[in-house]
Structure formats: C-alpha cells, structure tokens
Amino acid sequence: MKKYVWWGIVPAFLISTLSAIICQHFPFFEIKERIFVTFLTFLLLYSYFAIKAVNSATQNYESLRKKYETLKIEKRGMIPVFPLLKLDSLAYCQQQIKKMEKAKEGLQKEYENLQKRINTYEFLKSQTSELPKIFKLFSEHLNLIIKITENDVLKITKQVEELYNNVKILDLIKKSVYSGQKLIEVISNQLEHNEKIINVLENLTYSQKTKLQDNFARVAGLVEGIKEFIIFVDDIKEIAKQTNILSINAAIEAAHAKGYGKSFAVVAEEVRRLAIRTEEISRQIIEQMEKLLEKADEEFQEFQRQLLKSEDLEKLEQAEKMVKDIEAKFKEVGHIMIDLINKIQDQQQLVVDIITDLLGRIQFQDVVRQKLERVIEGLEELSGYLTSLMKWLEWPDTEEKPLEIQKILESFYQKYVTVSQREVHERVINKNIVKRKEAPKIELF
C-alpha cells in the first residue's frame, strides 16, 4: 500500500516545485502567490485523501468493490485537478481488483492450506489426547511385569527356603554322623583297650604254653626215671634170684658138711629167706612201678594229647583272632563313616554355598523393579507433558507454557540410580558416554 502513498506524494512534490519555478517568472507573482500556495495545499490534501481512499480500498476487497461502484457512478463528478492524478479510477480499481483477486486466490490457497493444517492439528490433537492412555497402558503392563516377576521370585525364594529346610535335615544328619563319629572314637578307644587285652592274652597263652611244655618235659623225665628205676629194681630181683640160688647151693653144701655146716646152713637159710623176701619185694615193687608206669604213661599220653589238642589255647587264639577281626571290621566301618561324614559335609557345604549364591542373585528382581519403575515414572511424566502441551497449543493465552523437553530429560537423568541407567541415557540422548570412575561394589568405611 505504501507505494500508492508515494505515488501521491511524489507527483505533488514535483508539481509544487514546478509551480514555484513558474511563479518566479510570472509578472504578477505576488498576486498569484497566495492562489498558488492555496492551490498547492489543496493539491497535497487532495493527494493525501485520494491515497488514503486507495489504501482503504486495497485493504478491503468488498469495500473496494463498493468504492469501485461508487467511483464508477461518480467518475464524471470528480474534479480533474492534476494531470498525474487524473487517474482513471475505474482502470486503477480494475487493476486493483485483479490484484485483489490474485490475492484472494492466494488467500484461498492459504486458507485451504491452513484448513489442512487445522485438520492435521485436529487429528494430531485427537490422536495425542489418546497418547496418555497408551502411556498408561504401558505403565500398567510394566507394573504387571513387576508384579509377576516379584511373585515368581517370591516363589523361588520359598522353594529355596524349603531347600534350606532340607539343609536343616542335612544338619540333623550331620549331627547324627557327628554322634557316629563320637561312637567311632569310643570304639577306637575300646579297640585300643582290646588290643591291650589281646597282648595280655597272648602273653598269658605263651606263658601257659611254656608252663605246659615244662610240665610235659618234667612228666616225661619222671616216666623215664620210673623206667630206669624198674630196670634197677629188676636188677635187684635178679640179684635176689641169684642170692636165693646161692643160698640153696650153700644149704646143700652145709647139708654135705653135716654138723660142721649146721651154722652155715642156718645162715644160708636166712640168706635164702632174705633173697626170697627181696625177690618178692622186688617183684611187688616192679608190679607197683609197672602199674605206676602204666598209669603215668596213660597220663602222659593224655597230657600229650591235651597238649597237642590245647583247646583252651585254641579258644584263646580264636578269641584273639575274633577280637582282631572285630577290630578290623570296626576300623573299616570307622573309615566308611568318616568318609561318609566328609562327603555329607562337602555336600552340605556345597548346598549352602549354592543357596547363598542363589539368594544373592535373586536381588536382580529388585534392581529390575527399580529400573522399570523409573520407566513408568518417565511415561507418566511424558503423559502429563503431552496433556499440558496440547492445552497450551489450544489456549496459548490462558494455559501455561510447558517445560522444554530437554528439561524433562534432565529431570529423568537426575532420578537415575544405577550406572547402567545413566550410560543408556547418555548414549541415546547425548550420543556419548561420560566415563566415570567406578566406585567399588562393596566398600567398608
């Protein structure tokens, strides 16, 4: 529109300058001067109003049309004051109308575009208003995941607890085995005691054996003595026989000597009687000795048999062997039990270690829960942000402008608790990872 204003001002300025030059050469300048100034003023005013009219016509197409009609009707009545302002109002208006029509077309296109944008906005608004529901849905899904995981982990923990109770049973077994171990110790002590007894028995057996052998030797010696004595008595018997024969011969010789040999015959008789008596006694001794020998021989044979048989010794030896066997068996059982105890202890320790480790690993659920809860909080914040953003888009004058999304992201970042959360954020949002000094997982102050 400004160019129309300039169109009025420039000709007015040129005309006034020309008029001033002309007025200088006029002989009656002084007379005409006032007329010229008045005219010039009028001209400027006219230019101003005319341009203003043109401007208002351009501002409003419909009013221009009316103006056009008005101008069309009143064109003959217009005052043709200045050549350059002798615009053909109709042509000018037609030109303006063409421009306006072009502008209208442009506006129409813009309107259509705007309408499209409005439609898009309306669509966006309707769709965006659904997004909080979707965020809510995601949140509920995540909450459900948390609950399911928590329930499952609780079940696992209960199972582990049952396993732990089994370990308690193992503990009882351990105690029983411990009692067994004590029993083995007692048995071992008993075995040591038994061993001492066995040694005593062995010594006793040896001693008895030696004594028996000594007795045997003594009895054998006695038997031999008796035999020798029988021979000796037998010799006496023989001597008595010989003496008897000699005494008989002496009696016969005394009988031959008659009176001279009477005393000799008495001695010979006495010698014979003595010889007979000696022989008789010798015979009796021999008989007694033979009986004794026979008995001694029987006893000796029996003793020998007993010695060979030596049942008591055998029993002692058997007892000793049995005790040794029992000891060996006990030792074997003891070794088996100790081995069993060690294996049970190893297994129990293994179970305890596994349970302990497993229970530590269950903490993952809490870590996952906290991470998911942070995601849920983020979704809820985003939902609120979208709602406030849509309200602000619809009523920007009344609604408060929402925070910038970057600030919301910063708020997210501040609420993270783990290194991995911060790393993911930095990788996705900042596109770089800030290397941090890793603090130890376990630290005692």
Partner: protein, 122 residues
C-alpha cells in the same frame, strides 16, 4: 547366642532372600519395610547387632533413617544395600555414620563375608 540383624527394605523379595541367607548362616533376622517402621521397632526395644538398610524407600528413606537412628544406637554398624551407585550419596551416607556400602545385587557369599567381618566371632 546368635546375633540379631535388622533388614530394612521395601522389597519383599530382598527381605525374604536376605532373611533366608542370614538364617542359613546362624543369624537371627528382624525386618521392616521402611525407615519409620524400623525406627518404631528400635524404640519398642529391639536391639540389633547390625542393620542392613536400603536407600530408596517410601515413608522414610535410608538416609533419613540413619539420621534418626544414630542418636539412639550410636555404635551399631549400619550397612547400606542399594542399587544407588552415585559417589556423592555414598559420601553423604559415610558422613551420616554408615559403616559400609553394598551395591545390589551382591552375592550371598560376599554379604556373609562382610557381615562376618563386621561381627567378628560369628
């Protein structure tokens, strides 16, 4: 006599798992789901030999609990078992009087080793 350990955590799984593992190693275990509940138990006469607490909890968090419990139990060791890895928070807990810091998940064996180190003779 077995030592008593108080566990404070809003997670049921953490309480159950820690309870089981500690009982398995001969400790007596008491639990609370937040700092306030734990504080009430202590005021009611509970005298634990060790406290293991989480940081992020509803009603009363771990830091607040340490602030409140220290005037009552000055020398009882307090371990913090948390997912939080921020060094600043660790320093803050140290200043408040925490004994140690464990980042979840911590293995049961490591936990028992730490507890036995803090409570010698167990």
């Amino acid at each position: 006599m077995s030592k008593t350990i108080l566990i404070i955590d809003d997670s049921a799984t953490i309480i159950m798992s820690l309870k089981t593992v500690l009982e398995l190693h001969g400790f007596k275990v008491e639990s609370a789901s937040n700092g306030k509940e734990a504080l009430d138990k202590i005021k009611s006469g509970l005298k634990p030999d060790l406290i293991i607490t989480d940081l992020n909890m509803p009603v009363m968090d771990g830091m607040e609990f340490i602030k409140n419990v220290r005037p009552v139990l000055r020398f009882i060791p307090i371990l913090i078992l948390t997912t939080e890895s921020e060094v600043k928070k660790r320093e803050e807990a140290k200043k408040l009087g925490a004994t140690g810091w464990l980042v979840k998940p911590v293995s049961g064996v490591d936990l028992i080793n730490v507890v036995k180190k803090i409570l010698p003779g167990t």
